[in-house]
Symmetry: C2
Subunit: 355 residues, 2 copies
């Protein structure tokens, strides 16, 4: 039977609470579908580690993690101890960039049992994928400050887009759209205001669209696109966006589909030169950490995306189906964010049992 | 009696359809409240002008417009003829920057008679202001392309923030928050990902917050803030954001409050060294232009903001009240976007009559 080696990084805050539930469900799926999971847990990429070492990761992190089949990640960020841009650039954003996880894939789906904040939306009405560029764009670290501390103080930061970087994520998104029944792709832009990088993004997207004549491609400016997620979410199928726009859309989309507490994400290296990383869209949630009430569904669903990536699509689909039936049929076990009185462990256990 | 000199620029597409309705309502208000409006209409800042002159504006536009008390603007953009970034940077964005209209103020309010796409939201539940920085930040035109046409092609664009630029818009927002009953300010950021400019924005906002101890100030990252506009819009009062984030939030907010078709905006030069500019949030809408069905409410409401700025707050409030009562009590005259069968002129006339 297949055996997969998984690096587990719980990180900060509720990461440590939801990851065990993710693992519980992964193990249940492994048992049902006859594959093996070897997991190794790592205590870096968190504020505790930073306090002890002054770094978020050990110097040999590439070698330590590079040989795993995938990384199962909780959340990182504990701003009371270490500023977010330090902890994030020192861990998660480093993985994304240095492991070349250039696709951040985030499904937006209104599940049975979940109430959308939008009027009159039923399960099935909202079902699309956000494909986010994950290594460049607005998330650069080039720039700086001049005339510090004076009235002339000026701060600059570069957005950087490369043909390689833009084309590969667009290609992924067009392939994905082509594989879906609706074959519809929307690219997010802001070429009317951001006058250099965004017209370039449009130019590459238009060129890519010519190569995929079977995909119906259109573009929306990010402002109107955000508005349309609220007004007409049913019209989207695959949405591809730059790093920053993808970040915004992949929180906004899940909010329209009920809650970001259950949204999963996959940081994928499609070339498989390095491991891909799977994490919930939500963060470490300092406000509810330590209380055992965090919603584990985002983590569990991320586990499903990991299995899909590893070549276990049936097990992946089973996990998602289990999530959906528990949310729909066992309202008493859901966590408070979804209106229930369940705990993290109780909800995780219920989903694992269903698998 | 007071006499105000207004430069009128209809621009492209539905701009030319909604501006006359805005003027109709402004004239009604002038009559009722006993002030005079002198309007001069200009045919530049549109695709037609560009076709004839190869520029969006005449060379002496500063002198031509600089002496007016305000600019009443429709919409600009006709991408079939001139690329958006050319038409926008050649007109609207130039006004904002060169007339130092550093505050873009956009009210988000769920009016009576308008249905929010959000469940269970009633008029009064959503009532906040987006204060958008309007001259710098992500909307720079510094940057360029290297290795053009090759696989190494790379495009960069700078975000630029200055202490002057950041502090003045923050100060405006804190003053505004301090003048409102809830005294609550939220600043939008993304300092966990955008690691140079956004931590700077946070730093200046935190420093400004110390000077306004009566204002309850907090921050949200743009991704979660967008999600919370959908999930908990009632919690916002004044939201201050950089140019790009403000752009996104001021389309998303109005969408949550029903439609961007009715949202107004004020591009304000608070120092009054140059005229301020008032325009609807919506654009030129090529898809419905020429059909006489565009919703004029954004334009009319922008007129109200203009009167407020000119020192006619009672007339301004009356226009907003007239909008609200027509939308609420005369569903037959509203335009198709709001579910009615009215025309632009019919809705504008009904509101003017109510004033
Ligand atoms: C047309 C575009 C350049 C403009 C902007 O992004 O500022 C518009 O969306 C707005 O909000 O006024
Ligand atoms: C924590 C933050 C840096 C991160 C991002 O912006 O990428 C998060 O919001 C996400 O979406 O994974």
């Amino acid at each position: 039977s297949h055996r997969y080696r998984i690096a587990v990084i719980p990180g900060d805050g509720i990461g440590g609470e939801v990851v065990p539930e993710g693992l519980r469900c992964l193990r249940a799926a492994a048992e049902t579908y006859g594959f093996e999971l070897e997991t190794v847990e790592f205590g870096f990429a968190c504020a505790d580690y930073w306090v002890r070492h002054g770094e978020m990761l050990p110097p040999d992190w590439r070698e330590v993690l590079g040989g795993f089949d995938a990384i199962f990640f909780g959340a990182v960020g504990w701003p009371e101890v270490v500023p977010d841009h330090v902890s994030l650039w020192g861990s998660l954003l480093k993985f994304r960039r240095e492991f070349d996880q250039y696709v951040n894939l985030r499904p937006v789906r209104l599940l049975r049992g979940v109430r959308s904040p939008l009027r009159d939306r039923e399960p099935g009405d909202i079902d699309f994928l956000v494909v986010r560029e994950n290594t460049e764009g607005e998330y650069s670290n080039i720039g700086g400050r001049i005339f510090e501390g004076t009235d002339r103080e000026t701060v600059v930061q570069e957005t950087v887009m490369t043909r390689t970087g833009v084309d590969r994520v667009l290609r992924y998104a067009f392939e994905l759209a082509g594989s879906r029944p609706r074959k519809h792709l929307t690219w997010a832009t802001k070429s009317n205001g951001i006058s250099i990088t965004m017209p370039y993004w449009d130019e590459r997207a238009a060129a890519m669209a010519e190569r995929y004549p079977d995909v119906v491609a259109d573009k929306d400016h990010i402002d109107i696109l955000a508005a349309k997620f609220v007004l007409r979410p049913e019209q989207y199928d695959v949405v591809v966006a730059s790093n920053l726009f993808g970040d915004i859309l992949s929180d906004l989309g899940p909010a329209c589909a009920g809650t970001i507490g259950i949204a999963p994400s996959a940081n994928i290296n499609p070339d498989r030169t390095w491991p891909s990383l799977f994490e919930p869209v939500h963060g470490s949630a300092p406000d509810i950490a330590g209380r055992g009430i965090a919603n584990p569904v985002g983590q569990i669903w991320s586990g499903a995306m990991m299995l899909d990536h590893l070549g276990e699509p049936a097990a992946a689909a089973r996990i998602v189906a289990a999530i959906e039936s528990v949310l729909d049929e066992q309202p008493e076990v859901v966590t408070p964010d979804l209106g229930g009185s369940g705990t993290t462990a109780r909800l995780g256990t219920a989903i694992a049992a269903e698998i």
